[in-house]
């Protein structure tokens, strides 16, 4: 049995896992962005990503190519994210954390409802972004789609990293996330930095949505709900306050969930989500700060 172990299949399944992990990583990063600046998990992040995906679908439906729609949707989502922060979050900027959480829950239903109202229930799909042919790498056949998905999601993550690391605006928004008042005293318009964070998070979410949809035969307004759970699990695994952790955590989770689903018969495809939930529970019990997060001590 052990001798007959199929290493080719393992390699293929790891890549499949990295592809889904990469998609989750982009959404997980969106969650971390907002968590770091506002201290709350944005429960509507997945729905905002779904909404973006529907915008992309409409654009493709009106004759745009996938990649044209992809870029345009990212820009629209960014502006939409900024607008959501200005209109919905700004009034509760200084409110207690629970208030903001409730607002994001409300936002979940509003965005979901709006998507149902605008786009009728019908089967719809996005075209494949990549060739569906397999490609031979070192004697193993990988799907180009999986490799492309990994490349695009890690590319988006990398661009975001460059922005935060090397631009003045990126530096200012990191400062605003660390200490709002000290940043204002330095002349940083903290309120706009929050809006910028929401815009970037929405753009990252759009990437995850547009990479999720083409792999499905059809999708509806519930498209991103499982993805949000996986992304949340990945972020918790890596450390909800660590962007690096969220990416690595999501990739680990992607591989883990896929391997368990492949090699543990009774898990199969149906029980993958519970595996992710078990990861959340396990991390919170054993190492609440996650793999790369900073443990926080609080005086009581």
């Amino acid at each position: 049995m052990l001798l007959a172990f199929d290493w080719t299949e393992l390699a293929q399944q790891v890549v499949v896992g990295l592809a889904s992990g990469g998609v989750w990583a982009t959404l997980a990063l969106a969650l971390v962005l907002i968590y770091r600046s506002t201290g709350v998990v944005n429960f509507a992040q997945g729905e905002m990503a779904m909404f973006s995906t529907f915008i992309a679908w409409s654009l493709v439906h009106h004759g745009f190519s996938y990649w044209a729609a992809f870029s345009l949707t990212i820009a629209i989502s960014f502006l939409g994210g900024v607008a959501v922060e200005r209109v919905v979050i700004r009034p509760v900027e200084d409110a207690p954390m629970l208030t903001v959480v409730i607002v994001t829950l409300g936002l979940f239903f509003v965005v979901n409802g709006a998507a149902r109202w605008i786009w009728s229930p019908e089967t719809r799909g996005l075209p494949n972004a990549f060739s569906t042919r397999p490609i031979d790498v070192g004697g193993v056949a990988f799907s180009i789609q999986d490799l492309g998905t990994i490349a695009v999601s890690l590319g988006a993550v990398g661009l975001l990293w460059l922005f935060f690391r090397f631009t003045k605006l990126g530096l200012a928004s990191r400062a605003a996330a660390v200490n709002r008042e000290a940043s204002r005293l330095l002349g940083v318009r903290v309120s706009w930095m929050l809006a910028l964070g929401w815009g970037l998070a929405a753009a990252m979410g759009a990437v995850s949505g547009m990479l999720t949809a083409p792999a499905l035969a059809s999708f509806d307004q519930n498209l991103m709900q499982p993805v949000l759970l996986y992304a949340f699990a990945g972020a918790v695994l890596g450390g909800i306050d660590s962007p690096f952790g969220a990416v690595v955590g999501s990739l680990i989770l992607g591989v883990l969930v896929n391997l368990i689903g492949t090699y543990v018969d009774w898990v199969g495809t149906e029980l993958r989500l519970p595996v992710a939930l078990a990861v959340i529970l396990g991390v919170l019990l054993i190492r609440p700060a996650g793999l790369f997060g900073k443990p926080t001590a609080r005086r009581v």
């Binding site: 003045k168 530096l171 200012a172 990191r174 400062a175 660390v178 200490n179 008042e181 000290a182 940043s183 204002r184 005293l185 330095l186 002349g187 940083v188 318009r189 903290v190």
Partner: protein
């Protein structure tokens, strides 16, 4: 007294329903070091916060360099050239020393000037250069206070507001910080409004001083005179 740079006229401020300042009037001249003394809760910190806009101002008028700033938010006041080094130093702990300094110059656009000021700041605090990559949160209290001052200088301010620079620091470090503040004042004509628990130190470093009691100015005058004032001596100098 030199030409006024900052003028507070009957300024009131409140935290929610609680009034913390009951009409403070004070001035800081161009290139002058002015100290604000007083017991805990007298409104020293709140006075600085009222100037920089980090507390709600409920009355009075604040004029800085010809601009009425009584209603302006902190980021706008900072852009006019007021650098507030807050209580607790406002260290951006997760960022590096270099990034903290760079943010000091956030509102500026003149690259050459920023580089020049970087050199100037490094000449006052040489260790900042060697430890630029270090995370600011790992610095000692004294180092964080110096970083905060250095960061304030990076904005090329016309006025620095210093809130309790000596708090929690070893006497030697405090002496060093005050030495640098005086040097900056003498060499570059930097105006400083400093709030200090250590009245002796503050009166030595400043030209004029105000003593606050429950949100009002109780005594004011040249620092040399206040040092000889009996009630000030008894209440704040302890001899």
């Amino acid at each position: 007294m030199p030409e006024p740079l900052l003028q507070l006229e009957q300024v009131e401020a409140r935290y929610g329903p609680v009034k913390a300042l009951h009409g403070i009037s004070l001035t800081v001249g161009q290139g002058e070091i002015v100290a604000v003394l007083g017991a805990n809760g007298a409104g020293k910190t709140t006075t600085l916060r009222a100037i920089s806009g980090t507390v709600r101002r409920s009355g009075g008028e604040i004029v800085f360099a010809g601009h009425r700033i009584s209603r302006r938010p902190p980021e706008a006041v900072a852009r006019l050239g007021v650098a507030h080094v807050p209580e607790g130093r406002g260290t951006l702990t997760e960022l590096s020393v270099r990034e903290n300094l760079r943010l000091g110059a956030y509102v500026r656009r003149d690259r050459a000037g920023i580089r020049e000021d970087e050199r100037r700041v490094h000449s006052y605090f040489p260790w900042l250069e060697q430890r630029g990559g270090q995370s600011a949160g790992t610095l000692s209290g004294g180092e964080q206070q110096m970083l905060a001052l250095a960061r304030a200088l990076m904005s090329r301010p016309r006025l620095v507001l210093l809130d309790e620079p000596s708090l929690g620091l070893a006497p030697m470090v405090v002496t060093e910080i005050f030495r640098i503040v005086r040097e900056l004042n003498e060499r570059e004509g930097l105006a400083v409004l400093v709030v200090e628990q250590n009245a002796m130190l503050a009166l030595e470093a400043s030209a004029r001083a105000y003593v606050l009691e429950v949100g009002k100015v109780a005594v004011e005058g040249p620092s040399a005179e206040l040092r000889r004032n009996d009630s000030v001596r008894r209440s704040y100098l302890g001899y």
